[in-house]
C-alpha cells in the first residue's frame, strides 16, 4: 500500500542501530574523558594527593557551588535560553542572606528570603527575555552587569562576617556545611538531591517534555498548545532559586559574604553544560550529562592546581578542554547521524 515499504524499513533499522550507538557515545565520550582525567590526576599528582580523602572531601564541598547552578542552567539551555546573570545573582542573594541575619533573622528564614529573591531575579530575567524577544545572552549579560554593579555599590564591597549568626554544630550549620557519616560533604548531598529531582522533571515529567519541545522547535511547541513563554520563565526561576541556595551554601562555608563571590560562574556553568552534551541551540541534553559536566570542570580545576599548573593558567586549560569536548561531541554526532 505504501510505496517502498521494505527499503524504508531496512533504512530505519539501520537508523535505529546507529542512533542507539550515538546516544550511547554522546554521554560516553564525556564519561570516558572524565574517567581519563581522574586517572591522570590520580597518577600524576604528587603522592597521588588527588585521590586522597582530604582532597576528595574538599572537592565534594566546593564543586556543588557551581554544580547546583549548572543543573538549572542546563535545563534552561535545553529550553533554548542562556543565563549569564548567575554570577551576579549568586553574590546578590548571599548579601541578602547575610544582611537578613545581621538584621536579626534566624539563618533559616534569611536563607529562604535569599532563595526567594534569587527566584524573583530569575523571574525578571525570564519576563524581559520573553516580552522583548531579545536574545537571553544579551539580556542576562545586562542583568549580570547590573546586579553586580548594584551589589558593589550597596555592599561597598565590604565583606560581612556571618560566623556569629550561624551557630557551629546547629542543625542549620550541619545542613549547609556539615558532613554525613563523618566524611561525606553535605553540599554533595544537596547536589545529588537536586540532580535527581530535576532529572525526574526533565526526563519523566510532562514539564520536561515541554522544555525539550520549546528548545527544539518553539513554533511547533506553541502550535501544539504549549505556553513556551511560561516554560522559559519557569526555567529562569529555577536557575534563580538554585543561585540563592548555592549562594547560601557558599556563604556558610566561607563564613562570610564577599562581593567577589561567583565571578566567572556565568561561563563556567555554560561550559559545564556543553561539556555534558547540552546543545547550545537548545532541545538536546540530558541530566546525566549535565551532572558529568558539572563534575568535570571543577575536577579539571582542582587536578591542574594539584599538578602545580600556575593558577592563572588554569582558565586557559578549561577553555581548551571546552573546545575539545564540543569538537568531540559534534564529531561523534556527525559520524553517527
Amino acid at each position: 500500500m505504501v510505496f517502498g515499504m521494505k527499503e524504508e524499513v531496512e533504512n530505519r533499522k539501520m537508523n535505529v542501530k546507529s542512533f542507539r550507538s550515538f546516544l550511547a557515545q554522546r554521554s560516553a565520550t564525556t564519561l570516558v574523558v572524565f574517567i581519563a582525567l581522574v586517572v591522570i590526576f590520580s597518577l600524576f599528582t604528587r603522592n597521588h594527593v588527588f585521590i586522597g580523602q582530604r582532597n576528595i572531601t574538599a572537592l565534594g564541598k566546593l564543586f556543588p557551588d557551581l554544580g547546583i547552578i549548572a543543573l538549572g542552567v542546563g535545563m534552561l539551555m535545553i529550553s533554548g535560553e542562556f543565563d549569564l546573570s548567575v554570577a551576579s545573582v549568586l553574590p546578590f542573594t548571599s548579601y541578602i542572606f547575610a544582611q537578613f541575619m545581621l538584621g536579626g533573622y534566624a539563618p533559616f528564614w534569611a536563607l529562604l528570603v535569599a532563595i526567594g529573591i534569587g527566584g524573583m531575579l530569575g523571574l525578571l530575567n525570564g519576563i524581559i527575555v520573553v516580552k522583548t524577544n531579545m536574545p537571553s545572552f544579551i539580556v542576562t549579560l545586562a542583568t549580570l552587569m547590573f546586579w553586580r554593579g548594584v551589589l558593589f555599590v550597596w555592599s561597598r564591597m565590604m565583606p560581612l562576617n556571618i560566623r556569629p549568626f550561624v551557630e557551629r554544630g546547629s542543625l542549620f550549620e550541619q545542613a549547609m556545611n556539615g558532613t554525613v557519616a563523618e566524611f561525606f560533604p553535605i553540599q554533595t548531598v544537596w547536589f545529588i538531591i537536586f540532580s535527581v529531582v530535576l532529572g525526574i522533571i526533565l526526563h519523566f515529567h510532562r514539564f520536561g517534555n515541554w522544555i525539550f519541545a520549546t528548545g527544539d522547535n518553539r513554533d511547533a511547541a506553541r502550535a501544539m498548545g504549549i505556553n513556551t513563554n511560561l516554560v522559559k520563565i519557569i526555567c529562569f526561576i529555577i536557575v534563580g532559586l538554585l543561585c540563592g541556595l548555592s549562594g547560601g551554601l557558599q556563604t556558610v562555608r566561607l563564613g562570610s559574604f564577599a562581593a567577589t563571590q561567583g565571578i566567572g560562574f556565568e561561563l563556567r556553568a555554560i561550559a559545564a553544560c556543553v561539556v555534558g552534551g547540552v546543545s547550545l541551540r537548545g532541545g538536546i541534553g540530558a541530566m546525566g550529562g549535565i551532572v558529568l559536566g558539572a563534575l568535570t570542570i571543577p575536577i579539571l580545576d582542582n587536578g591542574l592546581i594539584l599538578m602545580r599548573v600556575p593558577v592563572f593558567g588554569i582558565t586557559a586549560f578549561i577553555g581548551l578542554a571546552t573546545i575539545l569536548f564540543v569538537l568531540l561531541n559534534s564529531y561523534v554526532e556527525r559520524k553517527l547521524m
Partner: protein, 254 residues
C-alpha cells in the same frame, strides 16, 4: 458554489473573515466552509492568504472581523489549544515537530498522558503512537526514534498520526507536500486518503494543484486575500483547474 440545502452536514463555516497585519490586508472578507468528511483543496499562489485564513481557523491568529460556526455552534477560537479542543488539528508546512524528540513524545507534545503528579505515562505514549502510525499504514521500529531520523514522508506521517490519535474532526494540512520527494508525496497522499476513510474532514492547502487534484473533492482558489473561485472536482479537469488558478492570480480585482 455552496449548497444552502446541505447546511446540516456542514462541519465548519467561516463567513466574512477579515485580517490585517499592520498595514497588510491579508484576508479580505472570505467565506469558507467544509462539510463532514469532505476533502477540500485550498489553492492559490504564495501570499494569496491561504495560510492566514487557515491559521485563523486553527487559533494561531484571530480574525478582525467575521464569524466561525463549528458543528452548528458559533465559536471563538482564541488559541491553538481551543482549536484542538474543538477537534481541529493542523499539520503545518514547517512541520509541528521537534526533530530531536522521539516519535512518541512528538505525537503527544503538549497533551501528554500522565499517571498522576504530571509524570508521563511512557508505556501508553509508546503503544498509542505506534497504533496511530500503523493505522496510517506506517510501520516504524520504535517509538523512541527521534523524528529527525525519519524520511520527510515519515515525519508528515507522525504529524498526521497525531491528528488521528486525538480523534480530530477536521485536519488542516498546510503545504504538506512541499520539499518532499515524489515517493514521499505519494506516502503523504496515502495518509490523507486514510484520514478520509476514517470520515475525517480535510483541508489541503497547496500551491501544487497536481497534488491537490489527486485527492480533493472540491477546490477553493484564493488570490490577494479573496476567494476567487470555488469548483467541485466534477466540474473541472486538471488543465481547467490550472487555468483557473493562473487566471485568478492575474485578474485585477480592484
Amino acid at each position: 458554489m455552496s449548497n444552502e440545502n446541505n447546511n446540516s452536514d456542514l462541519l465548519v463555516k467561516m463567513t466574512n473573515i477579515h485580517k490585517w497585519f499592520g498595514r497588510v490586508y491579508a484576508v479580505r472578507g472570505v467565506d469558507f466552509q467544509v462539510r463532514q468528511g469532505e476533502t477540500v483543496g485550498l489553492l492559490g499562489d504564495n501570499g494569496a492568504g491561504k495560510s492566514t485564513l487557515i491559521k485563523i481557523l486553527c487559533g494561531y491568529h484571530q480574525a478582525e472581523k467575521g464569524d466561525i460556526i463549528f458543528e452548528g455552534k458559533k465559536v471563538r477560537i482564541n488559541s491553538p489549544r481551543e482549536a484542538q479542543k474543538l477537534g481541529i488539528e493542523t499539520v503545518y508546512q514547517d512541520q509541528a515537530l521537534a526533530p530531536n524528540l522521539s516519535i512518541a513524545r512528538n505525537v503527544f507534545m503538549g497533551r501528554e498522558p500522565v499517571k498522576g503528579m504530571g509524570m508521563l505515562d511512557k508505556k501508553l505514549m509508546d503503544e498509542e503512537s505506534m497504533k496511530a502510525l500503523s493505522n496510517l499504514g506506517l510501520r516504524l521500529d520504535s517509538p523512541d526514534l527521534p523524528v529527525i531520523t525519519l524520511s520527510g514522508g515519515g515525519r508528515q506521517g507522525v504529524a498526521i498520526a497525531r491528528a488521528l490519535h486525538f480523534k480530530a474532526k477536521l485536519v488542516i494540512l498546510d503545504e504538506p507536500t512541499v520539499a518532499l520527494s515524489v515517493k514521499e508525496v505519494g506516502e503523504v497522499l496515502e495518509f490523507i486518503k486514510q484520514l478520509r476513510k476514517e470520515g475525517i474532514s480535510v483541508v489541503f492547502i497547496s500551491h501544487n494543484i497536481y497534488h491537490a487534484f489527486s485527492i480533493a473533492e472540491r477546490f477553493v482558489v484564493m488570490a490577494r486575500g479573496k476567494v476567487m473561485r470555488e469548483v467541485t472536482k466534477e466540474e473541472v479537469t486538471l488543465d481547467k483547474l490550472n487555468e483557473l488558478v493562473i487566471e485568478s492570480a492575474i485578474v485585477d480585482i480592484d
